[in-house]
Symmetry: C2
Subunit: 167 residues, 2 copies
């Protein structure tokens, strides 16, 4: 496989993966493109490479910036803005974990805590409800904790230790 094919395949795959995970295709593809580009890209560049409209590009770039994984970059002698992504994959994972936790897991934990705190009136259905929502709360908390720990500091050391222990 040559560079061009590999690149297209990567961008395409990243795009469908995104879709599967509730991230829209354009956003995932822009991110993929910036991730493998050694130079920052302009909006024109992105529009051209991915064949998407100016508006689409602008909106999705904004979202990526909101997520903290793409940055505006200025290029000397150029008037327009350029964009580049976080290149350190560990840092990227960290940032994504941080945002998903903040946006999704924390609110879910809050609801689970709330609903699992209803008064136990002794009926089967209430007992089951409390039991299951409490278990989910516990699981979500553990998962969140592990995710953050793994992805945060010492990730490397931990990963190695872990894999050694478990292989």
């Amino acid at each position: 496989m040559n560079y061009k094919d590999a690149k297209d395949k990567f961008i395409q795959t990243w795009g469908s993966l995104g879709t599967l995970w509730g991230i829209n295709k354009a956003m995932a593809q822009i991110h993929a493109l910036l991730l493998i580009s050694p130079e920052p890209l302009s909006m024109e560049d992105i529009m051209g490479e991915l064949h998407i409209s100016r508006g689409n590009t602008s909106m999705n770039l904004r979202q990526l910036i909101d997520w903290g994984i793409v940055f505006k970059t200025s290029v000397v002698g150029e008037r327009k803005e350029f964009f580049s992504s976080e290149k350190d994959i560990q840092e990227l994972a960290k940032q994504i974990a941080r945002e998903r936790s903040r946006r999704e897991i924390q609110p879910t934990l809050k609801v689970l805590k709330e609903v699992s705190s209803i008064e136990d009136d002794g009926t089967d259905k209430t007992k089951e409800f409390i039991k299951q929502t409490k278990s989910l709360h516990e699981l979500a908390e553990t998962a969140d904790s592990i995710m953050n720990r793994v992805v945060n500091q010492e990730a490397n050391w931990i990963t190695k230790t872990f894999i050694k222990l478990l292989k």
Copy 2:
């Protein structure tokens, strides 16, 4: 909050979370409903509780069964089929991790491995491409491994060790 409100809130929350993660609302809600129900439910029951059509219920139940987290159950003296979900939350997490790995992570790993194996022609863009896709491959492998290990047997031991190490 009373049982009814807590139940509605839980089902509603699970539904939107599902959407966020690329699972459709009906599927997530059916799952939520079965998860907290102490008794298996019939299709009629589910349709009634969630106000969704027969076809919708049937299709989404099938998907949940495909995922291995909902089972057909027979109830003595009843002609129609009943459904119940995996109630053990650990087991549920295990099953979901297993399926996501099989359906999403493995195929992605395959593509990453493939595209990161292009020949290095010495140009910046090729070098960057190989570097980044290799890093992603490594990250995905690690994440997959950790997820599976954590969620599989010894989850408890590992969690404790881990949290102790990192606190």
